[in-house]
């Protein structure tokens, strides 16, 4: 086995192995656990760095492992997977630091970090999956690895949310599995190939292919929180903040969105999907979700719930971009995969900081929090403005490409109104938060101040992650046209997808 064939496996193992070891650590071996976590995350960053370089220079990284006749576990690094892998890797590193700070002194840390690493490993596997079968495997693994994280606190509320989460995701997983098997029977092992392969099937299969597409979209739509399959996401926000951050930014919802992108581009082929009339259907679902999510977010007082509905809305931008035929829309959707991730993780980090430092859970308690926690609130503000689409933050770039792609594809008539309505609603639910945080006078006392106002606003491990990710969100927009930026990478993906 040469290096090119081992690298995907190494990338996967760099989180899987530490995760498995951590399970067996004693609760109090805090140092060793931290060391393992950070070593894994660091190793992954280096390995992914090599991978980025290699994929850019047309290297093929491919690991194969036969599980059964005709069923191969394939890990393959192409441009799209590298984009998702890099996002997960960087955000995992940051989130690990955050989680170490967040869970300090709370019970069951070994279990938590074990599943945390498994969750990331599943995401990485999903990103690297080279065919639909492998994708399904990691998709289900992700469900399993996240369940204990949501149930982690063990309160009746947490257990209830975890149960709802499972109900949705396992149901979705079953539907996805059905679609995947069916497709496998018709078309053989569905390797992900840029441009898709199904257009070569004879016409009589088109009816079946449509049905399969529907099954796959329902299966993936559950995790991507497409309305009406989104019900679990607002519930899952009872999880500890680092979990929410990971769930909303990297792992679960992204897995669904990434799957939609994969199926449309690399299984069906976007051109063929459009010919079957399926792209429009996806677009409508995405549009409804975008608007619905934003509307629901308006009325939430619980900060994390508001953010959760915002995720419902924002993740569908990715599906929307996918539904826009043409390279520019594609770029918009794919780049939002990254942009939404870094912005949303910032928001959840900040929300976690408010809760952990001052006991703030609701928007109505946030008056004047900007004075008490300026750095956190600044990070929150940058991410929130980015979500609205204010330049030069990352979200603007996504909206720009989505809008431009829609105009070029002749879909401006409905995509642009959706974008505008969503921006207005985003502003309507984020700006009041910022107003309270920066302009209102603080209440005489915070709900539960855990960390007294000293030299720093909160613990370092909690403070730096949101600051760093907010910086990334800013940089991703400000230097969008720079080499190796997410945008440039999305451009590369679009070029390879459309064989430009």
């Amino acid at each position: 086995m040469n290096f090119d064939a081992t690298l995907p496996l190494l990338v996967l193992a760099s989180s899987l192995l530490p995760g498995l070891v951590i399970f067996f650590l004693r609760e109090e071996s805090h140092r060793l656990r931290t060391l393992l976590n950070l070593a894994g995350a660091g190793a992954k960053v280096i390995l992914v760095g090599i991978m980025i370089w290699g994929v850019f220079h047309q290297h093929t990284y491919l690991t194969r492992w036969t599980l059964a006749p005709g069923l191969e576990l394939v890990l393959h690094a192409d441009t799209l997977s590298v984009l998702f892998v890099s996002l997960s890797t960087v955000l995992w590193l940051v989130t690990t630091v955050y989680a170490i700070g967040y869970l300090e002194k709370s019970p069951h840390r070994s279990r938590f970090f074990g599943f945390f690493s498994l969750c990331v490993s599943a995401t990485i596997g999903l990103a690297l999956a080279g065919n639909l079968f492998t994708f399904v495997i990691f998709y289900e693994l992700l469900t399993l690895a996240t369940y204990p994280l949501i149930a982690h606190r063990g309160t009746p509320e947490a257990l209830r949310s975890a149960r709802i989460y499972l109900r949705y995701t396992l149901g979705g997983g079953a539907v996805l599995l059905t679609g995947a098997v069916w497709l496998h029977v018709i078309a053989g092992p569905n390797a992900f190939i840029e441009g898709g392969v199904l257009s070569q099937l004879p016409d009589e299969y088109h009816g079946q292919l449509k049905a399969i597409f529907l099954l796959l979209m329902i299966g993936l739509g559950v995790k991507a929180a497409l309305v009406p399959l989104h019900g679990w996401l607002p519930e899952a926000m009872v999880a500890p903040a680092p979990v929410s951050a990971l769930l909303h930014a990297v792992a679960v919802v992204k897995a669904g969105a990434f799957g939609i992108v994969r199926v449309v581009y690399d299984v069906y082929g976007v051109q063929f999907t459009s010919e079957l009339g399926l792209l429009a259907m996806l677009g409508v679902a995405a549009a409804i979700t975008i608007v619905y999510g934003s509307f629901k977010a308006l009325s939430q007082d619980n900060l994390k719930k508001r953010l959760a509905y915002s995720t419902v809305s924002q993740v569908s931008y990715i599906a929307l971009g996918t539904a826009i035929l043409g390279p520019i829309g594609t770029i918009g959707g794919i780049v939002h995969l990254v942009h939404q991730g870094i912005m949303k993780i910032t928001l959840f980090f900040a929300a976690g900081n408010y809760a952990e430092t001052l006991g703030i859970h609701n928007v109505s308690e946030m008056n004047g929090v900007g004075q008490r926690m300026p750095a956190t609130t600044l990070a929150f503000s940058i991410a929130a403005l980015g979500m609205i689409g204010i330049p030069p933050i990352a979200g603007f770039i996504s909206k720009w490409y989505l809008g431009l792609g829609a105009v070029e594809a002749g879909m401006a008539g409905w995509v642009l109104p959706v974008l505008i309505i969503s921006s207005v609603l985003n502003a309507a639910y984020f700006l009041p938060v910022l107003y309270r945080a920066w302009f209102c006078r603080p209440a005489p006392a915070w709900p539960a101040e855990h960390i007294p106002a000293a030299r720093y606003e909160t613990a370092g491990a909690l403070l730096w992650p949101p600051v760093i990710t907010a910086g990334l969100a800013l940089a991703a927009g400000l230097f969008a046209a720079a080499p190796y930026s997410p945008l440039e990478w999305a451009d590369l993906i679009a070029q390879r997808e459309y064989q430009l």
Binding site: P374, L385, G389, I390, P391, P392, I397, K399, W400, G403, L404, V407, E408, A412, L416, I420, S423, V424, A427, L431, Y435, W438, F439, C440, R441, G477, L478, F479, A480, A481, A482, P483, L487
Partner: protein, 477 residues
């Protein structure tokens, strides 16, 4: 070197904004305008710098229009900054106000040197949103409501603009620089979006609802930059996005002339009905933006005469910017330390300047505009003259309001703001003579005198009878 300078026009205010919350950061505010002033002084016109890594590939540059805009804008931001740095107003003292001041400044100066749509949009948005902080929404419930109205309209304008830019980028095949877009015909829908988007900034009638409440509650130094400088970004936007010539069908010019004309008289009539000097000045700004809009419309309608008209518009815009800022700052001095005869004399002079009295920059601006319009559209010259008369009327009313203003305690005048104001007034006084001969400044004698007489007459009549009582902040048609 050039690129560093052009970039630092944006960057320095942004960087200083991060420090502005520090305790003694007042003097960072004026400092932030230095790169812009330096650029106006030393950069040759036509300098462009490509920054392919910035945003979606940016281009910064200084053309003739940009230079003029950058000139008066940086100067006025400087003066306002000094004024704020030296004053002891509770709101402008706060770190938060300083941060937003610097951010708005960065946006405003940045959009002037932007030579592509995305950078312009970035500057425009940064300016528009940061100005929210200048309204100081936390100071009172009224202020909060005003700020919210402002924000809603601003975001609406930005979204209209965003949509228009998307369409433009789609038509141009991805090219974003204004140069590349110079001769690509705009679709009617795009033009409409642009007019509406910038119309909000220019406070054209029906798009102006945000302006009166905002001007009523904002600290006066901020109103000065609102009304003097930031409002002009609307004009710059029109000039950048709808260049006269092939790009914009001439029919739209006619529409803009009509809109502009309506705006002129709307501003005057609404202004005359105000009881608060600030609002009167605000409506006067709307009226003046009508003049600029009409002029711009004429440039669109007569592409051959466009270069001359645009040059004249630049002069007019500069004049209005200086005069209006000075009026507001002077008003601010009265508001904070009471009515004094010396201040009233200065403001009286400024009122004449704004109206376009002979031997002032107003006359110079009017002359330039009339000259450029006399050939293609003589009717507009007449309109300008009527507008001069109307403005004079408005200014008489302004002085009257100041004169009859209820006197409160007289406080000592703050030194630094006074000096800043005096410097600006002196500049306005001297500037026309530096750039023009006296003979060209001897116009407008008749309309100004007529306006003065009418105004005084009306005042005499009006002081006998109770005046129309329009609640401040709102003008109901």
């Amino acid at each position: 070197m050039n690129s560093t300078l052009l970039l630092s026009i944006w960057l320095l205010p942004l960087l200083l904004a991060t420090l502005a919350r520090l305790r003694h950061a007042h003097w960072l505010l004026p400092l932030a305008t230095l790169p812009a002033l330096l650029a106006v002084a030393i950069l040759p016109v036509g300098t462009t710098v490509s920054l392919p890594w910035l945003l979606l590939g940016s281009e910064l540059g200084l053309d003739e229009t940009g230079r003029t805009f950058l000139g008066f804008s940086s100067l006025l931001w400087l003066i306002a900054a000094v004024y704020i740095a030296g004053s002891q107003h509770a709101i402008t003292e706060s770190g938060r106000f300083r941060v937003f001041f610097l951010l708005a400044m960065a946006g405003n100066l940045g959009l002037i040197v932007a030579q592509d749509m995305v950078s312009f949009y970035f500057g425009f948005t940064l300016m528009g949103l940061s100005a929210y902080g200048l309204i100081a929404p936390a100071s009172s419930r009224r202020a909060r409501r005003a700020a919210r109205t402002y924000l809603a309209w601003t975001i609406a304008g930005e979204l209209l603009l965003f949509t228009a830019i998307i369409f433009l980028a789609a038509i141009s095949g991805g090219a974003l620089t204004f140069d590349a877009l110079q001769s690509i015909p705009r679709s009617p829908f795009t033009v409409l979006l642009l007019i509406a988007g910038f119309g909000i900034k220019l406070a054209l009638p029906l798009l102006h609802w945000w302006l009166p409440p905002t001007y009523a509650v904002t600290p006066v130094a901020a109103v000065a930059v609102f009304s003097g400088v930031m409002i002009k970004a609307g004009l710059l936007g029109l000039l950048r996005f709808l260049p006269p010539g092939d790009a914009t069908p001439p029919d739209w010019g006619l529409l803009l002339v009509l809109i502009g004309t309506a705006t002129i008289f709307f501003g005057v009539v609404a202004g005359l009905l105000q009881k608060r000097p600030r609002l009167l000045l605000g409506y006067s700004s709307i009226s003046k933006m009508g003049v600029l809009t009409s002029g711009f419309g004429a440039a669109l309608a007569f592409p051959s005469a466009a270069p001359g008209i645009v040059a004249a518009l630049l002069v007019y815009a500069s004049h209005h910017a200086l005069a209006k800022t000075a009026l507001f700052l002077g008003l601010g001095l009265i508001e904070c330390s009471g009515r004094r005869i010396s201040l009233l004399i200065g403001l009286g002079f400024l009122a004449f300047v704004l109206a376009g009295a002979p031997l002032t920059s107003g006359a110079l601006a009017k002359a330039a505009l009339s000259d450029s319009l006399s050939q293609p559209a003589p009717v507009l010259v007449t309109l300008l003259t009527v507008s001069t008369l109307a403005t004079m009327l408005l200014m008489v009313r302004f002085m009257f309001l100041l004169w009859t203003r209820r006197q409160r305690r007289i406080l000592p005048l703050p030194g630094v703001p006074l000096l800043a104001w005096l410097y600006l007034v002196t500049l306005i006084l001297v500037l026309p003579f530096l750039v023009s001969g006296i003979d060209r400044l001897m116009i407008n004698v008749v309309p100004v005198s007529l306006g003065l007489l009418l105004g005084l007459g009306g005042m005499l009549v009006g002081s006998r009878r109770s005046r129309a009582n329009v609640p401040s902040g709102h003008f109901d048609l």
